[in-house]
């Protein structure tokens, strides 16, 4: 199901494909090596540290700090209907980084390197197939997680 991840997906096959299922359920998952406990995001099937090949998914809070960003005016094929859009890189609280679009809760004028952000799982409603992504929003932004009451 990793083909669910991304408006345009380039890697349908991966050993961490359940990442997409968790994202659909509202959960951002990293990997934890079953042997040495090394945590990684984006998740890796093969431990970057001890090279062990088994891992488990661990939930990340999605809290992070913006380390850089760019507003893209010249978009590649597959994204031209969205431009301009702003892409940011965040250092995640539990470790690792991710790239995502800066979401609607943050106007362009408010974007600042070092600001606290929240990664929020999203589904493209307007596309016929399941297409998942995440955005960077102001801390405190909430969303629905599957299996959670209220």
């Amino acid at each position: 199901m990793f083909e669910w991840f991304g408006k345009v997906n380039f890697t349908p096959h991966t050993k961490v494909s359940k990442f997409a299922e968790h994202l659909r359920d509202g959960r951002l998952m990293g990997s934890k090596c079953s042997k040495c406990g090394h945590l990684d995001f984006p998740p890796r099937a093969d431990c970057a540290k001890c090279m062990h090949g088994e891992f488990e998914y661990v939930e990340w809070s999605g809290a992070g700090k913006l380390i850089t960003y760019t507003r893209i005016d010249a978009a590649p094929i597959g994204f031209q209907d969205l431009d301009p859009y702003t892409v940011g890189v965040v250092d995640l609280k539990e470790g690792g980084r991710l790239v995502a679009w800066i979401g609607e809760s943050i106007p362009e004028s408010a974007i600042e390197i070092g600001m606290d952000l929240q990664v929020v799982p999203r589904v493209f409603d307007e596309l016929p197939n399941i297409k998942l992504y995440y955005t960077l929003e102001v801390p405190g932004t909430t969303w629905i997680k599957a299996g959670e009451v209220g």
Partner: protein, 384 residues
């Protein structure tokens, strides 16, 4: 250790070459390089092609280039390291000669990009970012360097005017280079008023996709001395990599591969940054040249903006950089660029650079980056 020398160089016109196919472009530069070396094509033992194959409809490009150049049946192979493919070809030619397997090798950088439309190229290039976790957000190649620029501006106070100053310098020298795609001076004002691409970049912060070819002919020490009286020696080779993914980079204000590659090259050539009289660096975007000043040790970390403000990279400054116009004004046929840089340094060390000549240029350097730092090759050339 025996040396490997450059005995011939050739360079075609860069630009939107709608008049020629990729092998025809290669031929122009090849013919010129043979004439420059004063050898016949039968003297060549092998060729290495530096090119990025995804831009061409022809599959397995080396075959068609080898045929059109009349180089069958000698061996050929292609090297690919994105925008550093040309320097990867030079490195493998050096290895082939030092191993004793070949004596004279033609390195052919050739690339045709204008057969694709800009959004197609943006899509292709954006996928030099990591595709599983990054390209799905529509990241682009300018976008990656823009994010490095933004981080550098935040950490060191580098300004948009300093970025534009790099473009102004490179267009100034490009105006004097007949092979350049844009032979036209620009002003800071013009650069700052140009269309946005990926903030903080505008059009004039970015080099242009181009078609073009360049060739260098490399030879063993013995053969080089036999053939030529003005050999330029490739004495230092450094090459290193850093992560594909921007998510796993140790820093966003430097290209670690360039730092590593340059230190290796300086050590091998037995020189230091201070000895470099002229350099061609990979200015695919204005920030890339500022990072290069710092990564190569031409100035302190974080002082790259001041380095251009003080005109230290102009002729007459401490380290003249890209006095052929750089990628910025020459255009960037990606597989060709590393070879094109080499032809310029050879010209400078021979004293053949005309009105762009750097006085007393005896040691020169090329810095060729693949992707947004995933690969870097630094080569040091000596005329003595």
């Amino acid at each position: 250790m025996k040396r490997v020398g450059i005995i011939g160089i050739g360079h075609g016109k860069f630009g939107r070459r709608t008049d020629a196919s990729v092998q025809e472009l290669a031929f122009e530069a090849f013919r010129e390089a043979l004439a420059d070396a004063k050898i016949a094509r039968e003297d060549i033992d092998a060729s290495v092609i530096g090119s990025v194959p995804e831009y061409h409809k022809q599959r397995s490009l080396s075959g068609v280039v080898q045929e059109y150049l009349g180089l069958n049946p000698i061996p050929t192979w292609l090297t690919e390291d994105a925008c550093a493919s040309g320097s990867a070809a030079i490195r493998t030619a050096w290895m082939a000669i030092q191993s004793g397997l070949h004596d004279i090798v033609a390195v052919i950088g050739c690339q045709k990009m204008s057969e694709l439309k800009t959004p197609e190229i943006l899509a292709l290039m954006g996928r030099v970012g990591e595709v599983q976790w990054e390209s799905i957000f529509g990241t682009t190649f300018p976008g990656y360097y823009a994010m490095l620029a933004r981080a550098h501006m935040h950490e060191y106070g580098t300004t948009k005017e300093q970025l534009a100053s790099v473009a102004v310098k490179n267009h100034h020298y490009g105006a004097m280079n007949k092979h350049a795609m844009f032979q036209k001076e620009i002003t800071i004002d013009k650069a700052l008023k140009s269309a946005p691409v990926a903030s903080p970049f505008q059009i004039f912060d970015c080099c242009a996709n181009a078609d073009g070819a360049a060739v260098v002919i490399m030879a063993s020490e013995e053969k080089a001395k036999e053939i030529s009286e003005r050999v330029v020696w490739l004495d230092g080779l450094g090459s290193a990599t850093t992560t594909m993914s921007v998510l796993r980079r140790p820093t966003l204000t430097s290209l670690p591969s360039a730092v590593d590659a340059s230190r290796q090259a300086y050590k091998m050539a037995g020189v230091s940054a201070d000895d470099i009289k002229v350099a061609d660096v990979h200015d695919c975007f204005t920030i890339a040249e500022i990072l290069a000043y710092e990564d190569l040790g031409f100035c302190e970390r974080g002082k790259g903006g001041k380095f251009i403000d003080d005109r230290e990279s102009y002729i007459g400054g401490k380290h003249p950089v890209n006095v052929d116009g750089g990628l910025k004004s020459k255009g960037h046929p990606i597989g060709t660029t590393g070879v094109s840089m080499t032809t310029e340094i050879v010209k400078q060390l021979r004293g053949d650079a005309g009105e762009r000549q750097v006085a007393d240029a005896n040691i020169g350097l090329t810095h060729n980056v693949g992707g947004n730092g995933q690969y870097c090759f630094v080569h040091i050339y000596n005329r003595e």
